[in-house]
């Protein structure tokens, strides 16, 4: 979910950069050098996982996984998303440096908020974990869609229809992401429970 360069207005871009810089700074402060390598390699893993195409009915979509990213990395989701987007600009020229701030906030902020709200459920186990993980996956994509739509709508009323269309297109993806996130979290809880436990925003 990207907004391409050249669409947004100056104030929206500046706001995006300010929020992104704050989030990244906060995220970096929570990660000490002992955990930095884990965050780096997990960011790489999330970048790769987002290249996976999953069929939904007749179409195939690529995963976003920002809910899962928040559940595993906590506040470090901010620098992780920012770096992933920077790499996308560098490797594929999707998005540029100016919209980087807005795009980072769009994806990382809902992820961090979901992790904050559903974190306790994720560490509970059983049905609660399943529900919490589904909510993380579903709501993080919903939040990203809403923020993207908001950034577009604030840049001009001409974009209102575009914003609505983008949001609508993401409804099936939200459901798929919710189901997949629930399954992945279940898997991680069995195989490497410490990956979820250390996600704590206190980490």
């Amino acid at each position: 979910m990207h907004i391409s360069e050249g669409v947004l207005s100056g104030p929206v871009l500046a706001c995006g950069w300010a929020l992104a810089a704050g989030g990244v700074a906060l995220g970096l402060r929570r990660v000490d050098y002992d955990r930095l390598m884990t965050v780096a390699i997990l960011s790489a893993a999330f970048f790769v996982a987002s290249l996976v195409h999953v069929p939904i009915g007749p179409v195939s979509v690529h995963l976003i996984l920002n809910g899962l990213l928040g559940a595993v990395l906590g506040l470090a989701a901010f620098p992780a998303v920012c770096i992933a987007l920077l790499l996308q600009a560098m490797l594929f020229q999707f998005g540029g440096l100016v919209v980087l701030g807005v795009n980072t906030v769009d994806m990382a902020l809902p992820a961090v908020v979901c992790a904050l709200v559903f974190g306790p459920l994720l560490r509970a186990g059983g049905k609660a974990r399943l529900v919490g993980a589904f909510c993380c996956g579903f709501l993080a994509v919903l939040g990203a869609g809403l923020l993207t739509a908001l950034a577009l709508a604030l840049s001009g009323e001409a974009f209102l229809t575009t914003a609505k269309l983008i949001l609508l297109a993401h409804v099936p993806i939200m459901c798929a992401e919710g189901v997949l996130t629930a399954m992945v979290v279940g898997f991680l809880a069995k195989v490497r429970p410490e990956m979820l436990a250390s996600s704590g925003l206190a980490g």
């Binding site: 390598m37 209102l160 575009t162």
Partner: protein, 256 residues
């Protein structure tokens, strides 16, 4: 798939100091992205095209990237001309008509998006990732961020290969993509396994680094060295950015 074919080459653009290329790219894209008249992005687009030409990038690849970036622009052309309020220029069809303002807005966005695209393509994509990490630090990005950037990039290829092996294994066992609970469970296991392996790998890598005396700082063997050509390049790029900005400012003044 994750490769940087654009970052290698003997061209005059590739020889410029990465720090200067990064700053030039930032300045040019910023001016283009904030423009309110279509002359400014046109100037930046011309500069971007010249630099893309100088960088002698493989044409087929440039064409593919160009198409991908313009897919979103094409989508905007389908919507914006009809949703922007203004004077209609086409006959109304079911009450929907394209407006002059809508077409102007779509044109402006197309120019801006492509101006930034060619700047990023010629100035940012031509920097190898390790050099970009150093350049980021040089322009004031925190050390930890540069560290994360470098190592995310470093392990991207490793993890991508690992994912490839897992996907091959799934295919060998007869897995076919489908919208079913079974297929989704397989995808989830695939993603989870990639994460678990990445997590385990990160612990081993960090232990190995500690063993070699890593203290949070890198000693780089090849530092940046800017010459007269680099300075001339940066000044030229900044001059284009300032000229574009000035053009936009006069237009903006004239309209307020």
């Amino acid at each position: 798939m994750i490769d940087e074919p654009l970052s290698r080459g003997p061209s005059p653009v590739h020889r410029r100091d990465p720090r200067f290329r990064l700053v030039a790219c930032l300045a040019l894209s910023l001016v283009a992205a904030l423009a309110v008249n279509s002359g400014t992005p046109l100037v930046i687009l011309a500069a971007g095209l010249v630099m893309t030409g100088l960088a002698r990038l493989p044409l087929g690849l440039v064409a593919r990237r160009f198409t991908a970036v313009n897919a979103f622009v094409a989508f905007l052309w389908l919507v914006l001309p009809f949703t922007t309020p203004g004077t209609p220029v086409t006959a109304a069809f079911h009450g929907i008509a394209a407006t002059r303002e809508g077409v102007a807005l779509a044109t402006l966005i197309t120019l801006k998006a492509n101006a930034v695209f060619f700047c990023v393509l010629s100035l940012l994509a031509t920097i190898p990732a390790p050099a970009l990490g150093g350049a980021l630090r040089a322009v004031g990005v925190p050390d930890k961020f540069a560290f994360l950037f470098l190592f995310t990039y470093r392990y991207l290829h490793v993890i991508h290969e690992e994912y490839g092996r897992l996907a091959t294994a799934a295919r060998l066992r007869g897995f076919a993509p489908a919208t079913s609970l079974h297929a989704y469970r397989t995808y989830a296991a695939l993603v989870a396994m990639v994460l678990v392996r990445a997590y385990d790998r990160s612990q081993r890598v960090y232990q190995a680094m500690l063993l070699r005396g890593f203290s949070g700082r890198f000693a780089s063997l090849d530092g940046f060295r800017a010459g007269r050509g680099d300075l001339a390049f940066l000044l030229a790029a900044l001059a284009v950015a300032v000229a574009g900005g000035a053009l936009d400012l006069t237009f903006w003044r004239g309209h307020v």
